[in-house]
Amino acid sequence: MGEPAEPGEPVAALAEPAGSGRAGAWARLTANRMTSVGLAVLGLLLALTALAPVLPLADPDATDLSRHLLPPFSEGAWLGTDQFGRDLLSRLVWGTRVSLGVGLAATLAAALVGATIGLLAAYYGRLVDTLLMRGIDTVLAFPYLLLALAIVAALGPSLLNALMAIAIVNVPFFARAVRGQALAIKNLDYIAAARLSGFSDARIILTEILPNVFPVVVVTMATTLSWMILETAGLSFLGLGAQPPTADLGSMLGNGRELVHRAPWVAVLPGVVILLLAVGINLVSDGVRDVLDPRLKSGVLVRPAALTARRLPDAASAAVSAAPAPALGPDLVLSVRGLSTRFEVGGRVLKAVEDVSFDISRGETLGLVGESGSGKSVTALSLAGLVASPPGVMVKGEVWLNGGSGGPIDLARADLATLQAIRGGRIAYIFQDPLSALNPVLRAGEQVAETLVRHRGLGRGAAMAEAVRLLDAVKLPGAREKARAFPHELSGGQRQRVMIAMALANRPDLLIADEPTTALDVTTQQRVLALLDELRRETGAALLFISHDFAVIGDLCDRVAVMYAGQIVEQGSAAALFARPAHPYTERLLQCVPDLKAPHDVTAIPNLPPAVDRLPPGCSFAPRCHRATQACREAPIALRALDGDHAARCLYAEEVAAGTAAPAGAPAHG
């Protein structure tokens, strides 16, 4: 089943800018200091060139040999004159105008032609793709300046021909970038939906694909613009672009070349302007790319810390080490007390996990069940400080890991070195998607061996031998050969076995499995679950099993905790909780799932779970609950013990567990 991976979800929701759209993009652009510098430099140059006709500048082409080669700061010529007595300031401003104009025009032309080629090649594929892209490859096969020279040589030197040559040389960059993006989009379901809507090919390319590749076109334009300006200058420098007396930066540079010793300013000044222009454009384009490039959106720029940020009540005080270790039973492996983890972005505070407490004993399986966004994965990641920070912050609670040589440790207050020894050692994780959890460039056996080297200090040879033994223990067929396979060469079930082998490598006390079979087929799921259960029995490890699937939880778990909107709403033995659910959410959720083995009426829960930054003041489930009364909506509800270790966060838990109908007058939902 393809339930979206949960840990990323609240974070992804946060990454969405509050005021998305143009204003948000501009704010993100200017938030980058280097981009702001680039914008200032570029803005000044653009303003000067745009205002050239109205500025009190001398005629750039007027020669006056009596005033030739005046140095800068001369009277009537701030930046001096060239060998023909032409005013350099005026020529610089007009020349920048020409260079910028030609660069922009060439960029636009290359973008238009390149994007068209890329779109056609990607959409039609096969022969069209082969012909167009091999043509592009041919262009790329020549050194670009040589090709530009050849084109200008064939067409004759002129600014327009230089523009065309540079545009042609740059077409491949656009064609390739657009084709790559369009190929990815072409296979998305919304393009299939457009075809089902009876849209023509032209319409699909123009209205469905083009708007979605547009950011790539803009990014490519931003990154190639400065190149194109430099190339124009290069051609003009060689006398193949702007023809005298027209000033452009390249021809000015060429003009000053022979005078470098006598009058260096004639060549240096246009050089400086070219430098400023290129640096300004590059700084801005880097900023534009960071804002627009979809590949950078996922937060590649922000690297999460190795340890979740904490703001625990007594963490700052000196009495940390004196925090009393609770008396824990010898069988208890983990005791979580009042754990609260939040995501903080801008002014929003998302209470992803709020006041979560549970115990797990040796050899026991605790099922943590809930829907996406209920906080079950964040709970699991909080235990070893693995929640991404920013934006995650642990604000409350204790996480006692029992049974070590030095007595219980509070993981919520342990330092990074302690946690790193525990992660993959005494606490091991198995994630939903083994393909993204495994390193794609390391062989399966090496990845298992790595954790043995790290935690047990084995030598490489011994670690590899042990890795093969572990892969054999998780019943990976042909373990010796499969140890040499890369993750992509294994099937989904095989990859998950490798993950399990890694997790069990150091004989953990606690195994945390987060939706380990959700991405697998039902027959593979059955085998992986059986393996997990068998290995747990053999090693005596405690298992925290996270799933949205009641059927799987029921088969595997001794005790179950149900999460909703960041809180545990019900907890108890699997038998008690499933036979007599005491929280209306559990009761209703069980009615939502069609069950082939015990068919029953399927009734949906109306509406959606609340956003965890806008929780209602009372019970989080009250807005969707058919039993809710005024009392439920007024104040938070505490988790209340019923019989045995069965507990529920509901004022009417006894009635719910007894199966009594909702009181008359409660709002009915369909």
Binding site: M1, G2, E3, P4, E16, L188, D189, Y190, A192, A193, A194, R195, L196, S197, G198, F199, R203, E208, P211, N212, E371, S372, D521, V522, T523, Q525, Q526, L529, H548, D549, F550, A551, V552, I553, G554, D555, A574, A575, F578, A579, R588, L589, L590, Q591, C592, V593, P594, D595, L596, K597, A598, P599, H600, V602, T603, A604, I605, P606, L608, G659
Partner: protein, 271 residues
């Protein structure tokens, strides 16, 4: 027997396999092998199987997104594919709801534009008629009218799937191919979408081809089931027969792998 609404006759689809070296012989993957099925009007036929069994390829051929390599798809006896194209009337009547609710909606379009697309491409309605139809469809699938100018990313998975259903129904299609329509959704949302689908089928007399890997959901939604294994239909018949008295080994192994025995045990006394 009268001609069924939809009939698949020896439907086959082959894909060329990649080669490592140009001198190697090109392999062929037969994703769907000689599948024959018929679907009566108003029926809900489930197609179950594990990943890679060819059920999605079959779905894409039926709605005309993928050209069959051999065999025919007949809508009231008329071929859906003719001369490499999809018959225009068939295009309007056969629509699809996709597995990934968000991925099937263009991120640059508003709800109105998304639902309106088939009306533009497949009907002659003018702007005013289209607007009224979009509003009626939003009401039909339970989307609040004020959502009309919002974009897909502002919605939850369940709401996106409602938009997808409204779009499939827009041009009055009567056969809907549902490709894993609830498997990407949360449990409580799954039940909402299943309820809408059941309600729409009853009210509009729709015919469903329900592709799923989830036998419990198929048992709940479908009156007939076909089980696919390596591109072939290995067993088909009324849901109760296939899922409660399977005759093929593969169906039996699927059923025995289904989790939930313990849960069913807890449930039974209450039910």
């Amino acid at each position: 027997m009268a001609e069924p609404l939809l009939r698949l006759d020896g439907l086959t689809r082959r894909f060329p396999l990649g080669r490592r070296w140009p001198w190697q012989k090109q392999g062929v993957l037969e994703a769907v092998k000689d599948v024959s099925l018929s679907v009566a009007a108003g029926e809900s036929l489930g197609i179950v199987g594990e990943s890679g069994c060819g059920k999605s390829t079959l779905a894409r051929m039926v709605v005309g997104l993928l050209r069959p390599s051999a065999g025919a798809i007949l809508l009231e006896g008329r071929p859906v594919w003719s001369g490499g194209r999809v018959d225009r009337a068939a295009r309007r009547r056969l629509q699809m709801v996709f597995q990934d609710p968000l991925g099937s909606l263009n991120p640059r379009r508003t709800v109105r534009q998304l639902i309106e697309a088939p009306l533009i491409g497949l009907t002659d309605m003018n702007a005013g008629q289209r607007r009224a139809r979009v509003e009626a469809l939003m009401d039909l699938v339970g989307l609040r009218p004020e959502f009309i100018h919002r974009h897909a990313h502002e919605f939850s998975g369940g709401q996106c799937q409602r938009i997808g259903i409204a779009r499939a129904l827009a041009a009055k299609a009567d056969i809907i191919v549902l490709d894993e329509p609830v498997s990407a959704l949360d449990v409580s949302i799954q039940a909402q979408i299943l309820a809408i689908l059941a309600d729409l089928r009853a009210r509009l007399g729709l015919t469903y081809l329900f592709i799923s890997h989830d036998l419990s959901v198929v048992n709940h939604v479908c009156n007939r089931v076909a089980v696919m294994y390596f591109g072939e239909v290995v067993e088909q018949g009324p849901t109760a027969d296939v899922l409660h008295a399977p005759s093929h080994d593969y169906t039996r192994s699927l059923l025995s792998a289904l989790p939930g025995e313990t849960l069913a045990g807890y449930r039974r006394p209450a039910a």
